[in-house]
Symmetry: C2
Subunit: 423 residues, 2 copies
Amino acid sequence: MERILVKNILCNGVPKDILIEGNIISRIENNIDMSDFEGEGLLKLIDGTKKAVIPGLINMHTHSAMTLMRGVNEDSQLQEWLAMIWKIEPRLDEEMIYWGTKLACLEMLKTGTTCFNDQYWMIDTAVKAIAEMGLRSLNPYVILDLHDKEKAANLKVECEKIFKLSQNWSDLNRFAIAIHAPYSVSAESMKWASNFAREHNLLVHMHLSETQQENIDSINQHGMTPVRYCEKLGILGPEMIAAHCVWIDDEDIKILADNDVKLVHNVNSNLKLASGYNFKYKKFHDAGLTVCLGTDGCASSNNLDMLEAMKTTALLQKGINYDPAAMPLDQLMDCATANGAKALGLNTGKIEVGALADLCIIDIDSYAFTPNINFLANLIYSANSSCVETVICNGKIIMEKRKVATEAEILENVNRLYKKLIN
Amino acid sequence: MERILVKNILCNGVPKDILIEGNIISRIENNIDMSDFEGEGLLKLIDGTKKAVIPGLINMHTHSAMTLMRGVNEDSQLQEWLAMIWKIEPRLDEEMIYWGTKLACLEMLKTGTTCFNDQYWMIDTAVKAIAEMGLRSLNPYVILDLHDKEKAANLKVECEKIFKLSQNWSDLNRFAIAIHAPYSVSAESMKWASNFAREHNLLVHMHLSETQQENIDSINQHGMTPVRYCEKLGILGPEMIAAHCVWIDDEDIKILADNDVKLVHNVNSNLKLASGYNFKYKKFHDAGLTVCLGTDGCASSNNLDMLEAMKTTALLQKGINYDPAAMPLDQLMDCATANGAKALGLNTGKIEVGALADLCIIDIDSYAFTPNINFLANLIYSANSSCVETVICNGKIIMEKRKVATEAEILENVNRLYKKLIN
């Protein structure tokens, strides 16, 4: 069994030794004696002096291969932006998905994310890239029929095919179902997708109430909000992970809470695309809802940096609610770690004995952590993600001292491929 | 004369060679031949391959020694936060101001700022620290009499004394006057300060309309908004640099524009302290007002990172105005560079022949700039300030490849001193 021993690292403000055995955090103690492991095989030692440990961050909504479109259309209206994306996306091939996904994984490692929910196309290829990079992921197959019956029929066949392929994926990468959005998928396909997921015990991901227009259209078409429409179709439940949820009223909140739907706030994307800024965090939290954070894809919000997402989330909640005590640091940290783990049903998102060994080692020997009166405040409000020094996922070191073995190769391939995409 | 030649660097999207002679950018050309300078003394050569150049950023509102209080009071209401700051501040001594200011300068270098407006106490000591670090600054002497006549009299004497001392400061660090705020300074002292500044051709800095309460109190006390009250006192003019300006109506905007007052938006501080989120950028810009950006001090918004301030500013403007085209990249860049230079009356904030050589070299060989379809979008929305590799201020290299000579010494001294401050 492989072992990693991290000596003398700040863990919740106290210096500790942390032992990882296999893919599990097996001991957290004041002093773990290295001689305990004599003759017991490989022991990798990490000096944690002037470092702190945090759980690997969990990005609960992104479209990773869209890193290839980073900065493709800036400062333009939503329709113009969408037109550009729709022009580009059909040009994506498997090679682009592979390298675009690798670029996303590289960026996530550099910014402290060990686990993500990746909704995009060609998921079997994406999973190959993610597995090679060593991250944990959810990879939903996207149902997007645009109310076209032939397309819907083909999607079902394809979905079942990829589901079978997914049996060969590693334990780190899990298949799921995505219903693109209530406006872009027929009621029949939504119900089919939901049933398929329940039958096979799969999670379901969906864009929900992202824009005001979506709500207006839903009320015009169905006489009710998107949340109530989804409830009527019977597709809401604890397996549902709903992204955005910016246009939500009190009755919607009750429905979401009654169905234990998990919510994902994508603050930078919502602000940058001007979809809506009033994510009702406190009401959701008070209703007992599990709130997670996501970055969305790089075509809309340019990076996959969860520390930035955390900072913007907190600043906006404090600002728009005229309450500097809104969104306290511990809740913010939960949104980016434990809550995502809960939504995914994984024993991760925390530094605890018995939890999966998904963690980041933070370099605190810098101006950003000086003075270090409040570590979480420094991490989220003062530092940036360059403080992430080493990343361990599932017990494996996948970034050490900011080095990722395949970095140059990834940048080179993306620089070769993106021109084909945008020209 | 000292010369720096930067070869083959991206300058506004095109590879150029840039020559710095003394403290001035003297040539920007496709190919500057090194043999031109044979036998002409020192020529420092910088390879600009896979790098880009931007003007040094200008932070137009901060309180630099407050880096010592980074994270001292989080997630609490404004009154509790203020009580903590007021408890701590009287403990500040010259040694703390010196090292706190150095820590701020270190952070500004690491995040690409070459020039800042620093409103705090013991400014002669602060300027000593800033001069040693090599940054450009405005250092206003703060008039804050709390409507106490004896205090007011003492401040005037002290102000004149420091003004005389400031004659010995280097050209990079300029004396100015700060009127703390219209609510905290007597009308008589405000008028005295304004006259003193006009007499000696000095800039004036002031907190203005930061909170709704300030506006309510002003209307109750003076029958008018703080802006109208300042106009009535005759203290508004092109020399006035007003920080915050969050609670401003249309009539105020007209007055500010008529008087060519320069505005400083401090987005992170305004959000984090919940002072107000609706900075009316578009209205200010349309009225012809010069809008600059600032970070405020680290006690309120935790860091001095102007790239972060730019990003949050743009996201918030787009989000709250439901307009993804609000705050375009070029205007955002101006707010953080050229507009600050204009407010300070300095020929900097731009990469142009004849301008002061204040610039940052950005490393674009990273995931954050891949692909590099839109450099400014990558700089502001995708990267973080760790992309700032080398900083040149007034023709001197003051950070090279992220190394600042005195870094370890600064961190060590701050770690020794801050405990005296908070215990």
